[in-house]
Every structure is written in structure tokens, then in C-alpha cells.
Amino acid sequence: MRKARLDWCVVLVATAAALSCVTAHGHKVGCFAACEGRTVSGYAWLGGGGRPKNVPVRVLSTGGSVFLETRTNDAGEFTFEAPCRAELVIVIDAGAGHAARFVVPAKDLPADLPTQKDPAGAGSGVALNASEPEVPPVDCEENPADEATVTDDVARVVAQQIIPLRREIQALSDRQRLQDVLGGIGYLVGIAGLAFYFLGVRRLDERSAGEAGKRTQPVPGREGTAPLSDSADGEV
């Protein structure tokens, strides 16, 4: 029992040490973007609380073809003009295997933008890898007459109110929560417990089958001695 307690003490101490650092995490990069009129602006953020400076930003179509490429500035922000009224997939490559993507839906963009000529795109799947073979940029054709029903000023004011809300919502959903950490540990303990139980059942079956075999065959030289005892009996 003392040995079991030692193992769990180790886990508890490690958990306590880690939970004190739960706010800081450098495992992932995230991205947020919103559009005001035709201008799409956004920023990338690191899990550890900073912003990746000067990292490549690629704007792709849903088919994988590249609209344009830019970089984040020293504050981790980026801005570009939307070329078409199409779904824009913004991909940030922060290096060392960390990447993030954010999708700007087409309906957020103003109605007077040209639409995408080939919505399926020329690429096969969204490629975050910058060195994939060159894909020709997407063509945008002139929009057939589609009257804008909302004035530009109203749209801009509404966007100014909505964008901070969206940013907060995404920050909330990306926040690392204590219950996720505890859930992960719980899953690991549970899986180990299940494996321990099933292997233990199999071991009990093997042992009872072995003892049944021993009873029918007396072992030479062992009559009168105590049966072999297993020191794992009774220990968890």
C-alpha cells in the first residue's frame, strides 16, 4: 500500500506543479480575423501569450489555391484586401510544426466584390505547406449586377461593434481550461484501470486453470509442502 501511495504522490505533486502553470502554454498558435468592408484584418497569437512576429500568412480558397500571401507585422497583425467574395482560408505558419487556420465566410465580405471564377479551385485540398508546387492564383470575374442593400456606413459601424465580440468569443473557446487537464488525467487513469482489470481477470483465469492442472498431477517431491504462494496476492 505504501508503494501505491508513493506513485500517486508523485502524480499529485507533478499535477500541482503543472496546474500552477496552466495559464502559460506554448503548444499552439491561433488566428483571428474579421473584415471591415473589403479590408480583412486580424492577428495571430501564441499559446504562451505572445504574438508571432513576421511569420508567413497565406490566404487560400477552399479548394486550396492561393489568393495571396503576406506576413504578420511586429505586433503579430496582418491586413489584406479581399480579392473576391469567396470563403477565405487564412493559414498562419508559425514554424516548428505549429500552424493555425481561420476561415472568413463569404457572406462577411461586401456584396459588390467580384465572385470567384472557379469555386472548386485548382488545388487538391488545403495545403499549409508553402513549398507545394505553384498553384496559379485564383481568378475573380466581374459580379453580375447585384445591388447592395446595406449602406457602407452602417455596415462599417456594425462591424466595429461585432468584431471585438467575435474576438472575445474565440478567446473564450480557445482558452485552456482546468477541466480539460483534469479530464485528460482522468482518461489516462481510467484506461490504465480498465487494462489492469482485464489483465487481472485473465491472470486469475490462468492461475485457476494452472491450479486445477496441478491438483490432478502431483508434483514429485512437493507432497506435504505448502502450495506455491504468489506474492502479488492481495496487493493492488
Binding site: 508503494k3 501505491a4 506543479a17 505549429h98 489516462l188 490504465a192 502479488a232
Partner: protein
């Protein structure tokens, strides 16, 4: 260290997932009844250790502890790390689910290598200081091997500018090497004093952590009773 989805090419994803799957199967084959709790506890230790961060300038790196997992688990480090990485990917979005194989390989291959390189030294250490030395060297080497693995995987995916990133990754993990050297060394010295059976080779007739039957064992004393 956690590689996200979409970074690696399709062939690399398939290859790394296959190799990691083989490693997990091998690890499960050497995991028997007594070792299951140890595997679970160490997987939880790894899961939790990756929340302990060290800020190095603009980058934030985290502890790995795969050296300790290697010494104590051997090939069973593969299933332990696979479970921990999968839960981190699903619950916390650390790393991608498709890149699970690459992440597991980067974490578990160094662990298994350190088991073969340093496991014997840790077991046969004659003093606490020798055990600390063996453990700390194991901790440093395991972190360096993990960085090398990450760089190799990123280079194989033909991503641009990864020579610069490779240097940055290794430099950023130097403090992790220092901390882990100390932590793993202390753990090995502590275990040698308190529960040396965790470091001893398995009993004769049982599968060792390397998968082969052990030919030497502690006479009259078996490794059962470890929780």
C-alpha cells in the same frame, strides 16, 4: 514540439502513423499485468509535465520527461505517449490528430533509445551520485534526440526555412535539457534509494521491457507487487 495538422505531407503522415502504430503494438506486447499501473502513472506524468513551461525569449518550451519514461517503461513508452498525445490533441488542441504518429515517434523513439543506452547504467549504479549522473545524462540526451527527431520530420516535409527553425528549436530546448537532466537524475537517484525494483531488470522467465526474456533476475525476489 507538438506538430499541428496540415504541416506534414500525406506520405509522411502515413509513414509516421504506421511506424508509431508498430511501436505501440510492440509496447503493448511487453506490458503485462504488473506494469499497467506504471504505464498509466507515467503517461499521466508526461501529460502533466508538458504543462510545465520555461520561457526562452519569445518562445515558450515545455518539459518532456521522455527520458524518465524510457528508463522506467522501455518499449511501453510508445502506448503511454500515444495515449497522452491523443488526449492532448483532442482535449487541448495541442498538436494535430493526424500528426499523432509523428508526435509519438518524436517522443517515444528517444525514450526507447535512452532505455537501451542508459537503462543498464541506471540499474547497475553503485551509488546515488552515479545514478544521478546516469539519469541526468539520459534526460539531456532524450531531449536532444527529441529535437533532432522534430527537425528531421520537419525537414522531410520539405517546408521552407526549416534550417533556421531547426537551430531555433534546438537552442530553445537547451534550458529544457538542463532542467530535465536535473529532474530525471534526481528521479533515478530517488527511485534507486526508495524503490529500486522499478529500475531492476525483470524476473527470469518474464518478458523484459525490451521484449526478450530476461536471463538474469533477482533470486527469490520478483518484480510483482509494483503498483
Amino acid at each position: 514540439m507538438h506538430i499541428s495538422d496540415g504541416i506534414l505531407s500525406r506520405e509522411l503522415l502515413i509513414g509516421t502513423n504506421l511506424l508509431a502504430g508498430l511501436g505501440v503494438v510492440r509496447g503493448l506486447a511487453v506490458t503485462d499485468y504488473e506494469r499497467v499501473p506504471r504505464v498509466g502513472v507515467l503517461a499521466a506524468v508526461f501529460f502533466v509535465a508538458s504543462f510545465i513551461h520555461i520561457n526562452v525569449g519569445p518562445v515558450s518550451v515545455h518539459l518532456l520527461m521522455n527520458g524518465l519514461l524510457g528508463i522506467l517503461l522501455g518499449w511501453a513508452a510508445f502506448p503511454a505517449l500515444a495515449a497522452a498525445f491523443l488526449l492532448q490533441a483532442i482535449l487541448l488542441q495541442y498538436g494535430g490528430v493526424t500528426a499523432l504518429g509523428a508526435n509519438v515517434l518524436c517522443g517515444a523513439l528517444p525514450a526507447v533509445l535512452c532505455y537501451y543506452l542508459f537503462g543498464g547504467g541506471c540499474r547497475r549504479a553503485v551509488s546515488a551520485r552515479a545514478a544521478f549522473t546516469w539519469g541526468s545524462v539520459c534526460g539531456v540526451v532524450s531531449v536532444l534526440l527529441t529535437c533532432v527527431g522534430l527537425v528531421v520530420v520537419l525537414l522531410l516535409s520539405h517546408s521552407e526555412n526549416y534550417r533556421v527553425v531547426a537551430k531555433a528549436v534546438v537552442v530553445a530546448h537547451i534550458p529544457v535539457c538542463v532542467v530535465e537532466g536535473f529532474v530525471v537524475g534526481s528521479c533515478v537517484a530517488f527511485l534507486r534509494q526508495v524503490r529500486p525494483e522499478l529500475l531492476l531488470p525483470p524476473v527470469e522467465g518474464r518478458k523484459s521491457l525490451g521484449g526478450e526474456d530476461a536471463t538474469e533476475g533477482e533470486s527469490g525476489r520478483d518484480a510483482e507487487g509494483m503498483s
